[in-house]
């Protein structure tokens, strides 16, 4: 005990006391410096905001823009890193929120403020998130000159960098979408959302090898392929989609069921009915969704039978929704003695629900 107390007095307490003193000092001084710096920062931000807005909404004139930018640089602490960051963020913000053909103006501003050099520095950085941030800047600004900096990163061992590089690549050169088939790793939902968003924005043409995607060994490529077929309303490969309804992976089947609805693949109706009992709740609900779009009297009989057999509690309301969509008059003559179904029909027919 005495030894412990000895060390406590001699080492631990002084270390803790010094640490505490330093921590408090840092906390207060750091904040104090920030408070001093904040007005300067806000003033610069406000000036940058106004300047960029004026420039964006002015007719593009290279000489005029150049002289205005050079003059503006003198009014703000342009040489500071934080100032460049503000300009970069503001350009990205405006570019993401403005529609219309303003890309050239943004790219011109980006170049004239020397921000491409800043982006390059980020991409060359050793930190993965800085690399990703740099690529994000190129992607948002659609800055094609950044293309050579991206290509080497496509084979980077870091998963995040590789993924960002690919997204930037297809954003800068949408025709490169074909190369996705060679991806060996699983594409996450987040990446799928990003890819679809890029396609939405760029209105890219259909990848020429899309038919191959849905035959890939990589499940996530198949799913993305089906999503793209739906996105492009691509009807030339319906037979493969029908085959995918029996794919061993549940999530692929789910995607194929959804595609059957959006691509109006009427041939799938009987297969979906047959497949129904083998699926889990999520896929069952999706089958109802699809049948409500492509279902005929066969689906009517199938769902009516399910309701008579007191189907799974979690899906019966969806079953009623589906039946009502296939035949809105169905419940006028059927299930009139089934109170539970009658309640569900009321729910389904309520316009506000």
């Amino acid at each position: 005990m005495d030894v412990l107390v000895y060390y406590l007095i001699l080492i631990i307490l002084p270390i803790l006391a010094c640490g505490l003193f330093l921590l408090i000092s840092f906390l207060v001084i750091n904040r104090f410096i920030y408070d001093l710096f904040r007005p300067k920062y806000e003033a610069a931000k406000s000036e940058i905001d106004s300047f960029l807005t004026i420039m964006i909404f002015s007719p593009f004139d290279e000489t005029f823009f150049k002289s205005e930018i050079e003059q503006f640089k003198k009014t703000i602490p342009f040489e500071k890193k934080w100032c460049k960051k503000i300009i970069m963020n503001e350009i990205i913000f405006l570019k993401s929120n403005l529609k219309g053909d303003v890309t050239t103006t943004f790219q011109f501003l980006y170049e004239q403020f020397g921000l491409f050099e800043y982006t390059q520095k980020l991409i060359k950085s050793r930190r993965f998130y800085l690399k990703c941030m740099g690529m994000f800047q190129l992607e948002t600004l659609e800055y094609k000159k950044g293309y050579p900096f991206i290509v080497p990163l496509l084979s980077h061992k870091n998963r995040n960098i590789k993924s960002s590089a690919f997204l930037t690549l297809i954003s800068l050169n949408p025709n490169k979408l074909e190369s996705l088939i060679d991806f060996s790793h699983q594409i996450t939902i987040a990446e799928e959302i990003n890819i679809i968003d890029i396609l939405h924005q760029k209105k890219t043409k259909i990848p020429s090898n899309l038919s191959q995607w849905i035959k890939s060994e990589n499940v996530s490529i198949i799913k993305l392929g089906i999503k793209l077929m739906v996105f492009y309303n691509y009807n030339n490969d319906n037979e493969t989609i029908i085959k995918l309804l029996k794919h061993e992976d549940k999530s692929v089947r789910n995607e194929a069921i959804i595609a059957a609805k959006f691509l109006y693949i009427y041939e799938t109706e009987h297969l979906l009915i047959e497949q129904f009992k083998h699926e889990d709740t999520q896929n069952k609900l999706e089958i109802f969704n699809t049948l409500s779009g492509i279902g005929t009297t066969d689906s009517e009989h199938f769902i009516a039978q399910l309701l008579k057999n007191k189907t799974d509690e979690n899906i019966k309301l969806e079953a009623v929704y589906c039946l009502n969509k296939i035949n809105p008059n169905y419940f006028e003559k059927h299930f009139l003695d089934n109170e539970d179904v009658k309640k569900m029909v009321k729910h389904v027919k309520t316009p506000y629900l």
Partner: protein
């Protein structure tokens, strides 16, 4: 004999304190790593991409309301203004005896609809469902139910009525940041394992400027108790929960703000209406369910303040709240005692539950014993006050360092405080907290344990709201 007992106790407390300090040091490192990881990857899917996407899960915001007539309209408008492409607001009128429902019907042009209510989780009687005839409020569903003296029961009715696969539980008087749903739903989209719940930081709204249910300006709390709680919240959310999140060890997602996977929450039985710590209890059961079914899962926390709530401003209300929390803690540990060291429950059995037992449940008891021994020693035994002072100083300094690290992280990343003065006030509050505020908490915890042992009747204390500063008042 007495000397031996006291010696054994002294060694026990020494080892215990050392373990406590080591645990907190590890948590500090984990927390730092988790925050850094979050900040480095947060822009992978930009918010605007999510807003435009059709491939994201829908979210039902479940908000129980009991006698909130004075503010419910503004609160609902605030919730309706959240940004997310696919969401609904399920407001549960928990048998209010005031004009909550009437106000909602009038303001939002509600009519009673033939809603097919499936009681997936057992609740008290649901009297009806209301929807708006005005397309502007099509996202709103009002559930009217009988009061069962339990927020858990009201939340369960909301979950039963919700239509989307994720639900966000909040209190109707909580003010949520506009992008709250996006931020909380993101881990569900990005997660490699199945994410079953997410939570985020909660802050104190007592002195904030609020207009029509919207947060106009954030202000540092004015009263003593809210300020102490500010310290507590920063420490708990930014420090403790982020660390637990990093090792997938979260046992608590606050009732004020938490998003859940509906399928798992329903399968686990929803909120337990007899629990006084229903939020912790639900997470415990969800964890158990996933372990029982051998399903990999994760529960994640976001190091951002997304929700502002009013906290107790007086000692009496604070004690009432903390008694309830303490009782909720012991209830959960007791109800799920089969988790302790059961190999089936992995780290919940060997790390999380023992931690909560040792460092959350046991500490108030040990502190009480310590005080008794101290008093006893003063009169009877020859206590070495110097050594006692050194030991106490070490623990005190360590506590201060942990608190200041939390404040520093918060200030560097989010700048939630207006100026240096507020930081200095917070520093001073932290210095006196162990002497002024902590004893109140210890007392409340012990009282909670006592109530649990005596099985006192469950009561839902009605927190007296002080109300917000309105923006107009400030003008």
């Amino acid at each position: 004999m007495l000397d031996t007992t006291l010696n054994i106790y002294a060694y026990f407390v020494g080892v215990f304190s050392l373990t406590y300090i080591i645990s907190y040091t590890i948590l500090a490192l984990l927390s730092y790593y988790a925050i850094k990881k979050y900040l480095n990857t947060q822009y992978f899917i930009p918010n605007n991409v999510i807003i435009k996407s059709n491939h994201i899960p829908g979210v039902s915001v479940v908000a129980p309301a009991f006698n909130e007539g004075a503010t419910v309209v503004y609160n609902v408008k605030s919730l309706l203004s959240l940004t997310y492409p696919k969401f609904e607001i399920v407001l549960v009128n928990d048998g209010s005896s005031d004009d909550t429902l009437e106000k909602l019907i009038k303001e939002f042009e509600l009519i009673k609809v033939d809603f097919y209510y499936e009681e997936k989780i057992k609740t008290s009687l649901v009297r009806g469902h209301y929807k708006s005839t005005n397309p502007l409020y099509s996202k709103l569903l009002v559930v009217d139910k009988e009061n069962a003296k339990s927020k858990a029961d009201a939340s369960n009715a909301g979950i039963n009525s919700s239509k989307y696969p994720l639900f966000l539980c909040t209190d109707v008087d909580c003010i949520l940041k506009n992008d709250t749903i996006i931020k909380l739903a993101k881990p569900f989209i990005e997660g490699k394992k199945r994410v079953i719940a997410t939570g985020a930081g909660i802050r104190i709204s007592n002195s904030c400027e609020v207009k029509d249910g919207f947060l106009v300006k954030i202000h540092f709390p004015k009263g003593w108790y809210p300020r102490f709680q500010e310290l507590e919240y920063v420490r708990a959310f930014l420090f403790g929960r982020m660390a637990w999140s990093q090792i997938n060890g979260l046992l608590l997602v606050s009732g004020g703000l938490g998003m859940f996977d509906k399928e798992v929450a329903v399968a686990a039985g929803g909120y337990f209406h007899k629990s006084l710590g229903e939020d912790m209890e639900l997470i415990t059961r969800m964890r158990k369910y996933m372990y029982d079914n051998k399903l990999p899962f994760s529960i994640q926390y976001i190091p951002e303040s997304l929700c502002w709530t009013e906290v107790p401003a007086t000692k009496e209300v604070l004690i009432r709240q903390r008694v309830r929390w303490a009782r909720g803690l012991i209830q959960t540990l007791y109800f799920h005692k089969n988790i302790f060291f059961n190999p089936k429950y992995g780290k919940t059995a060997f790390l999380i539950f023992p931690y909560f037992f040792l460092f959350e449940f046991l500490i108030p008891i040990l502190e009480l014993i310590g005080i008794i021994i101290l008093i006893f020693s003063f009169f009877i035994l020859d206590l070495d006050y110097h050594n006692f002072l050194y030991m106490s100083s070490a623990v005190y300094l360590f506590y201060l360092i942990i608190t200041f690290i939390s404040i520093l992280l918060d200030d560097i990343i989010y700048k939630n405080y207006a100026n240096t003065k507020e930081i200095i006030i917070l520093v001073l509050m932290a210095i006196i907290e162990p002497f002024c505020y902590h004893p109140v908490n210890v007392y409340a915890s012990l009282k909670g344990y006592y109530h649990f042992v005596r099985q006192k009747e469950l009561k839902w204390g009605n927190m007296q709201r002080q109300g917000f500063n309105t923006a107009t008042k400030q003008n």
